[in-house]
């Protein structure tokens, strides 16, 4: 049992057509209010931000709204990016803060109305996702909702985004020790949930 090798943050056809970081030129145009630059930023980061939002919110419509809000804020607050960190770090921090607040608002909303079932994302036509069935993916996303929001966010950013502990500490604005604790506790809790669940999650996909 050895450490997992570093992996690409996204795999698949779409990633091969986009770079993993936006260019300085695009960021300059974004600061100047160029909508076309926002389109380019979305092409580079759209899937990643949506993936994080969906991992936290477990609802496709909410994740779309949250993603839209994150990119609108990135557009309106473009001048605040000083270039001291990578743009992806800055954007993920924006997404993390917004999505956590969004999740709290959703939780409040659900206290009022518990009747509606959770929405489940329809699987994208992506060979990388073929190894996991739709039902199992939905079950994992549902179980993730049982974790405290901070643990859930840390786990999603680590597993789906592949961020290192240092990058997580930058995005979440917490010390790396906190990142470590959240991952340990989040995994412990998720494992207990998976074990307790009646679904066949631990069966090979």
């Amino acid at each position: 049992m050895s450490p997992q090798p570093p992996r690409a943050r996204r795999t698949g056809a779409e990633e091969s057509t986009t770079s993993s970081e936006a260019s300085e030129d695009v960021l300059d145009r974004l600061r100047a209010g160029d909508i076309a630059a926002l389109d380019e930023i979305y092409r580079v980061y759209g899937d990643r931000i949506f993936g994080v939002c969906f991992g936290i919110l477990a609802n496709r419509a909410d994740a779309e709204d949250a993603t839209q809000e994150v990119f609108l804020r990135a557009f309106q607050q473009a001048v605040k990016f000083s270039g001291k960190s990578r743009y992806s770090t800055w954007l993920l921090r924006l997404a993390a803060n917004h999505t956590l607040n969004f999740a709290k608002a959703v939780k409040r909303r659900k206290r009022v109305s518990r009747a509606l079932p959770e929405d489940v994302a329809s699987p994208a036509p992506d060979p990388d996702h073929a190894v996991i069935g739709r039902e199992r993916r939905a079950a994992v996303v549902r179980l993730l909702q049982e974790l405290p929001p901070e643990q859930r966010l840390t786990l999603v950013l680590r597993e789906i985004e592949g961020l290192s502990y240092f990058e997580l500490s930058e995005v979440l604005g917490v010390p790396v020790g906190t990142v470590t604790s959240r991952l340990i506790r989040g995994r412990e809790k998720l494992r207990a949930l998976v074990t307790d669940s009646e679904s066949d999650l631990l069966a090979p996909g």
Binding site: Q4, Y42, E64, T67, A124, I132, I160
Partner: protein, 165 residues
Amino acid sequence: MSTMDCLTTQKLLSAMLDGELPSDLTRSVERHLNQCSRCTEEAEELRFLSAIVREAGTRAPVGLGARISCSARDTQQSPASWTAALAAAWPRAAAVLVGAASVALISFPLRSAPSSPVETRTTFNLLAFESQAELDLAGSFGEDFQALARRPEGLLLHILSGGER
């Protein structure tokens, strides 16, 4: 080197599987795993858990990008955005005006009332602070980590103590 016990191994497994442990600790954990079937099983479960969470990721729906562009365009054209832009620009514009006024006072001492050195320094300190604040905004979160990174044993102690900072 002595073999690590199960409790210590299990506390380090998460960081080890993420590739975040120093190499000597990774080797110690691996040595223990080679001898302990229970911890090996735990490691395999953790690894599988990572895999199923990773695979739960999904892609943005088609058309979301276009919707965001439209919203951004609407926001740009709305009168509220002009008000917000003016409000956002006001402190910077004021700082520039104050700075320009201070430079004028320094440059033309004979044509205006002498400005006190303290006031001049205060003006420039304020301008510098505005710039520093912007820098701090992006960089303030990393200090604790950098301190830990310089002392890997600090991170190890933290993991072993299981404390939330």
